[in-house]
């Protein structure tokens, strides 16, 4: 379930495809073979990038996106953790909540946009709500599964040692569920990231990398779109690496073999 990529040694063969794309783009944009509006030259992309750095747009957008995502993720993952623990630890909660939860989660996140904009307006709150939804579902599912799939033999150890229900949860259930909970965080982070860019693109209020995309597209500036895409990739990558580092430290007990 946990997909923390093993730390693999650098292999130059992985650079072949990016190099081909970069070179291909260069040939197509400089030769004039392709549509000049779509295949903008590196010179123009670089100039746009430099301008965005100079007027502070890029930094403001990165900060805006990261803060927005952090807020939405914290809310969604937090509630997801609580609900997942409730349904995972209590049969009653599971029976009452799960049917509704699994029905509601079939609704694509962006299908909530009309309702959310009606409730919260076209602005920051709706964006954060969409991001929170993205983090919420995977979190609930993984936390619940983690709590329910604690190996029976460990639970027997708790019984034999007369651990109370609370001690069993704290010393056995939660640690056993921790890898699944972390997988929920990782998955929630991935969908929250998608939601962040989507919400910014569609709602486009304030500063954000997704807002660079929609603004550039409206101005017909593909160079701006490319800068936005590159930084969306870079920020997404940075977030993922950060989580992998945290996971490695948190799960030292699994040993090298499990990584």
């Amino acid at each position: 379930m946990a997909s923390f990529a093993p730390r693999r040694r650098f292999d130059a063969r992985g650079l072949v495809i990016p190099a081909l794309i970069v070179a291909g783009w260069y040939v197509v944009s400089e030769s004039g073979v392709g549509n000049g509006y779509v295949f903008v030259t590196y010179d123009r992309i670089w100039a746009t990038f430099a301008a965005m750095v100079a007027d502070g747009t890029l930094v403001a957008s990165i900060v805006g996106t990261v803060l927005r995502m952090a807020a939405g993720f914290a809310i969604g993952a937090g509630f997801g953790l609580l609900l997942g623990l409730a349904t995972g630890l209590s049969d009653l909660a599971g029976r009452v909540v799960s049917p509704t939860f699994h029905a509601v989660r079939q609704i694509a996140i962006f299908a909530w946009m009309p309702l959310l904009t009606a409730w919260l307006g076209i602005g920051g709150q709706t964006m954060i709500a969409l991001i929170a939804l993205g983090a919420f579902y995977p979190m609930v599912i993984n936390v619940e599964a983690g709590c329910r799939n604690v190996p029976g033999p460990y639970l027997e150890v708790g019984r034999v040692l007369e651990l109370s229900r609370w001690q069993t949860i704290r010393r056995i259930v939660l640690p056993a569920a921790a890898p699944a909970i972390f997988a929920g965080l990782e998955l929630g982070l991935a969908t929250a990231w998608l939601s962040t860019i989507g919400a910014e693109y569609f709602i486009a209020a304030g500063d954000g990398l997704g807002i660079i995309l929609s603004a550039s597209r409206m101005r017909g500036s593909m160079d701006g779109v490319i800068v936005g895409i590159v930084f969306i990739g870079l920020v997404g990558f940075a977030i993922n690496r950060l989580l992998a580092v945290i996971a490695r430290r948190a799960f030292a007990w699994r040993g090298e073999a499990a990584r």
Binding site: P153, Y154, E156, V157, R159, V160, L161, E162, L163, Q167, R171, I172, P175, A176, A178, A252, W253, R254, G255, A257, A258
Partner: protein, 260 residues
């Protein structure tokens, strides 16, 4: 060799009286135990031997309070067993150390009802680490231990709450033969040191004869007791002694394996 006569004994520490246990499976009812009675005297070392399916582990789980009989009574010191208790320790074949806790934290897991403060707990854990010889591995995680060391830690964990009886479900079954022989000697030393009642489930007849005051031989389909053999060989025992070999042969005979 004499079958244990029904001699007057002190009230048994562990007693199973006319117990039956049936498991329902897709293929119908499997009688795991059928009308089984066993008593273990306080401070005795008794082994249950028998082939797979003879109900010996089921019997142990009933005494641990992890399972309930369909019929009959299971008693500890004369009181019916209603669930697990710290006064009856349990040792599993797979050591079942919690992988996210260090050796010391695993050992301390059952100390919550001993009325110890942090210093007292630390002291008790250290005492047990000394007893099982795991010094220097207090902070290791289970994945860093060998099979024998893991089982030592599990023994320490089960002894931590000072149980009056220890139930051992093939705890040495997964170890290599050298480690196993060493751990048998360790078990005896711990039994003598702690002075507690031990009930061991094993399929290794030699292990049973080496360790026990009494061996209860069980047979499957339905799970039942075939014989009870008292071992009055002096300790320390030697596996090569003629007396040892004779008792071992007798038990193998009861198991229908003497020709093997």
């Amino acid at each position: 060799m004499a079958l244990a006569a029904r001699v007057a004994e002190p009230e048994p520490a562990l007693a199973v009286q006319r117990v039956s246990r049936v498991f329902r499976t897709a293929d119908g009812a499997v009688p795991a135990l059928s009308d089984v009675s066993v008593g273990v005297a306080p401070g005795a070392f008794v082994s249950l031997v028998g082939p797979s399916g003879c109900g010996k582990s089921t019997l142990l789980r009933l005494l641990a309070g992890l399972d309930v009989p369909d019929d009959g009574e299971v008693l500890f010191e004369g009181v019916p067993i209603t669930g697990p208790s710290l006064s009856r320790g349990m040792l599993f074949q797979d050591h079942r150390l919690l992988p996210w806790l260090s050796v010391a934290d695993n050992i301390g897991l059952g100390l919550h009802k001993q009325g110890l403060d942090a210093e007292g707990r630390r002291h008790r854990v250290q005492e047990l680490i000394d007893l099982v010889g795991l010094n220097g591995f207090e902070r290791a995680y289970p994945y860093q231990l060998s099979g024998g060391m893991s089982q030592r830690a599990a023994i320490a964990r089960s002894l931590a709450p000072r149980p009056r009886a220890l139930l051992l479900d093939e705890p040495l079954g997964a170890l290599d033969s050298l480690t196993r022989a060493k751990m048998q000697t360790e078990l005896l030393r711990i039994w003598e040191h702690e002075g507690i009642t031990m009930l061991l489930v094993t399929h290794d007849v030699e292990e049973a004869v080496y360790l026990s005051d009494r061996v209860v031989v069980m047979l499957p389909r339905p799970g039942r007791i075939a014989a009870t053999v008292d071992i009055d060989l002096p300790r320390p025992r030697h596996r090569g002694d003629p007396g040892f070999a004779r008792i071992k042969a007798e038990i193998l005979g009861w198991l229908g394996a003497d020709g093997l």
